[in-house]
């Protein structure tokens, strides 16, 4: 089995990429990532000036993270020393950089390539702070073009926000700059919550929101980019399991970033997900990732092209529970009720086939079918 993939010109030994973040903040942590055998590791975002810590800066709620640290706290010179000590092996090193003028990006690009970067990722719109380059097509184009020129053939990756993915104008400017690879999506600007007793925000400022909740947004971004643009895609956003990695690839991604999941579960999750993806391929008799890349795209259609049809909810078998009324309470069409004997019944004349009860039944006793008679006992 050949597990390698191509992200544009970049050849990776597998499609799992460690995304930029504090888990890749120096030589020691980057080495810990590399030792888990991902296809590539991305450094924390390197800028011209080291950025100081605020405390606290990381907020976690379940499988959601908010991070107010956007950039590295190391100087460029320190990075030079850090990266010198890394044993890359087959793993590729992507250096993430941020700057908001073309000459600044040219400088950083040349420097990180000189330090041994196999690719350069430009953080186009960090979710908080310095949105300067974020949404103005002309600025994006000038900045990215400067980096592409400076990179002189080394792949340049634009890391873009959810909003940018859906803006034809911005994606055109990224393309016109000569960028062929995008990482999508960047974290979203978020707040974790309010302490209502003290009537105060739990965070002193906005943070980059990541984790399981942004996964559907990242899936949609991947599908849109794959169908509307020629970019090679590194998908990013709420990848918590090998299933999530495969989802992105089936929507056309070349590779997939792990980020929050490392913060939540630790470094070992990297090799676990790499292994589980390969096990899945083997179980399903695929010899490489290209065979499934984009395979699910054909099941997506324009909303306008979907035809209305007469499906209705059906009980697969009698529900014996008396303590659960989720389907009854949840039906907005009054299509589900308990009869005199307390049994769950469906009124097909009222059911509109929305699928809500099917999704929510804890025992999976409901399904959508054409006609009640089709499910004759």
């Amino acid at each position: 089995m050949d597990t390698s993939v191509y992200l544009g010109k970049l050849h990776l030994m597998n499609p799992v990429v460690v995304g930029a973040g504090p888990w890749c903040r120096d030589a020691a942590t980057i080495q810990r990532c590399i030792d888990q055998k991902p296809g590539a590791v991305t450094t924390e975002t390197i800028t011209l000036e080291a950025n100081s810590y605020i405390s606290p800066r990381m907020y976690v709620s379940g499988q959601q993270t908010l991070n107010t640290k956007m950039f590295s706290d190391l100087h460029l010179e320190q990075w030079e020393e850090e990266l010198g000590g890394i044993q890359k092996g087959d793993c590729k090193l992507i250096c993430s950089i941020w700057g908001n003028s073309p000459s600044e990006l040219t400088y950083l690009t040349r420097k990180v390539i000189h330090m041994g970067a196999d690719a350069v990722e430009i953080s186009m719109a960090p979710p908080i702070r310095a949105r300067g380059t974020g949404m103005v097509p002309k600025i994006i184009k000038d900045c990215l073009r400067a980096a592409v020129t400076a990179a002189d053939g080394v792949p340049v990756i634009a890391k873009i926000s959810y909003e940018a993915c859906h803006s034809p104008e911005i994606m055109r400017s990224v393309r016109e700059a000569g960028v062929q690879i995008v990482t999508a999506i960047n974290g979203l600007k978020g707040l974790i919550g309010i302490d209502i007793e003290r009537q105060r925000s739990l965070m002193p400022t906005f943070g980059g929101f990541n984790g399981v909740s942004i996964h559907p947004l990242a899936l949609a971004a991947t599908a849109s980019l794959k169908q509307n643009t020629p970019f090679h895609i590194c998908s990013c956003g709420g990848t918590m399991s090998y299933e999530n990695v495969l989802e992105f690839i089936m929507l056309g991604a070349s590779c997939v970033e792990l980020a929050s999941v490392i913060q939540i579960e630790g470094y070992s999750v990297i090799s676990r997900i790499v292994g589980e993806c390969e096990d899945w391929l083997e179980r399903h008799h695929y010899s490489n990732y290209f065979e499934i890349q984009g395979s699910a795209l054909t099941s997506l259609h324009m909303f306008e092209d979907l035809k209305s049809c007469q499906l209705g909810s059906t009980l697969i078998s009698e529900c014996k529970r008396t303590d659960c009324d989720i389907c009854v309470r949840g039906c907005l069409y009054d299509g589900i009720y308990r009869d005199q004997d307390g049994r769950i019944r469906i009124d097909r004349s009222r059911c509109s086939g929305c699928g809500h009860c099917v999704a929510r039944c804890p025992d999976h006793k409901l399904s959508l079918n054409w006609e009640p008679s089709v499910v004759a006992e």
Binding site: H75, E77, S103, E104, H114, R131, G134, M135
Partner: protein, 441 residues
């Protein structure tokens, strides 16, 4: 290594440095024979590091399409002999980028480009045997790292000289802080000279520090012209200028793009309803003032239906400069909607003047500063200001200087003019009432 790209246009201007490489690549198979035949001519100009003429054993282009050649700086006879020969091979030349020399050494030595780079920049951090190996490869190719050329000055720190117009202002202090961050990392001594914007003092410091064998200079908003700076050029001492120039006296410079920043600020002030604006600026900073005026003009132009009125008042860069600025406006009965102070110090003067005259900011007159300082977020009301990345500017200048000092190759591939962007910090003195206000620029 601009050698090849500029070669065709102006052969007289080729600046050849000791250890320079010419990469000659035959593009098609038939030409390889051609090249090999003619390559014989290169023997004439190849020398080893000791300057001794010797016959070179050129690689067979059929096996290895890369041959190289080193020239001695200042050896006019050899150089002129080489020019016509080189001209005949022009079609083999490909644009040559700085990193390639590292790549060449890396591939010859069987190590990564980063390792070669470390041998050049941080020889202490490389295993002795690896270092020896790479140095041998370099030596075989007539190249020596700059630390070697400078006499292996380990334990004897180099000296970087920083000339600033003043030390009293936040700007200079932040530049010093930024430069020092890098010189400390590079284990160099930083010498600070304060010029008071005086030509004579600046020249005096330059020549004194050249005599003391300074390794490189960083000049902040220098008052000297190109010819007055020729002393640096004549000795080939690397120097970087901080601040925009209206001449091309410096090859390496970095500055902050004030025009763009002021444009953004003006947009914000217009959004808040301000139409009459007075800029109180430092009479000495002519280039800064010109950039500010360009940005303001851009923001004003085309607004025929809803015009903006701008007045420029030139004073000194101090608290009293700002104080007297507002006083003058009150005396002349020409109070604007908003005062734009050139520096944080001048903004403080405006605040004090307003207090003396029982005026409230921003109700009676709004105030913004073209330069942010820690005090701006402490005063009440907090002062809206343009945050200038001055520390980053100092770091950048020092980096450019060390790029030249350590390794010409990398510096050649890097931009020689770096622009940094400002960021508007919207607080209260401008009339804004929103708490967290970060406009989507």
């Amino acid at each position: 290594m601009l050698l090849l790209s500029s070669f065709a246009d102006k052969p007289d201007f080729i600046d050849v440095v000791k250890g320079d490489l010419l990469i000659v690549q035959p593009e098609v198979t038939e030409d390889q024979v051609d090249l090999r035949d003619r390559a014989g001519h290169f023997h004439v100009v190849e020398r080893d590091m000791a300057g001794e003429m010797h016959a070179a054993s050129l690689a067979d282009p059929a096996d290895d399409p890369v041959v190289f050649l080193s020239l001695f700086r200042g050896d006019a006879v050899l150089f002129h002999a080489a020019v016509p020969l080189l001209a005949r091979f022009q079609r083999f030349f490909q644009p040559f980028h700085g990193v390639k020399r590292h790549e060449l050494f890396a591939s010859l030595a069987g190590v990564s480009v980063a390792t070669v780079s470390r041998v050049l920049n941080h020889p202490d951090a490389v295993l002795p045997e690896t270092k020896e190996h790479i140095l041998r490869i370099m030596e075989e190719n007539n190249y020596s790292p700059s630390w070697c050329a400078r006499g292996l000055r380990l334990g004897n720190p180099g000296m970087i000289v920083l000339l600033v117009p003043s030390i009293e202002h936040t700007f200079s202090q932040m530049v010093v802080s930024g430069v020092e961050t890098i010189t400390a990392t590079k284990q160099h001594t930083l010498v600070l000279c304060v010029t008071n914007d005086e030509k004579a003092r600046e020249q005096e410091y330059l020549s004194r520090m050249i005599d003391r064998k300074a390794d490189g200079f960083i000049l902040v908003n220098s008052t000297l012209s190109g010819s007055e700076l020729s002393v640096l050029k004549a000795r080939n001492i690397p120097c970087v200028h901080i601040g925009m120039r209206q001449d091309d006296a410096f090859r390496h410079l970095c500055y902050i793009d004030h025009t763009d920043g002021v444009y953004g600020l003006m947009q914000h002030l217009v959004d808040l309803g301000h139409r009459k604006m007075t800029f109180i600026l430092n009479a000495h900073s002519k280039i800064f003032t010109a950039q500010i005026q360009t940005g303001a003009k851009l923001a004003v132009q085309g607004r025929t239906d809803d015009p903006i009125e701008i007045r420029y008042l030139l004073t000194e860069n101090s608290v009293s400069g700002g104080f007297n600025g507002l006083k003058q406006l009150i005396d002349e009965n020409d109070l604007p909607d908003v005062i734009v102070a050139g520096t944080a110090e001048m903004a403080m003067g405006v605040v004090q003047s307003a207090q003396f005259n029982r005026m409230r900011i921003p109700d009676d007159v709004a105030l913004v500063s073209l330069a942010d300082a820690p005090v701006c977020s402490v005063l009440s009301p907090q002062i809206t200001a343009i945050s200038q990345p001055v520390k980053r500017l100092g770091m950048m200048a020092a980096r450019m200087l060390f790029d030249v000092l350590e390794d010409i190759d990398v510096a050649e591939g890097l931009p020689q003019e770096i622009t940094l962007k400002t960021k508007l910090k919207i607080r209260r003195s401008c009339g804004n009432t929103k708490l967290i206000y970060d406009p989507m620029e």
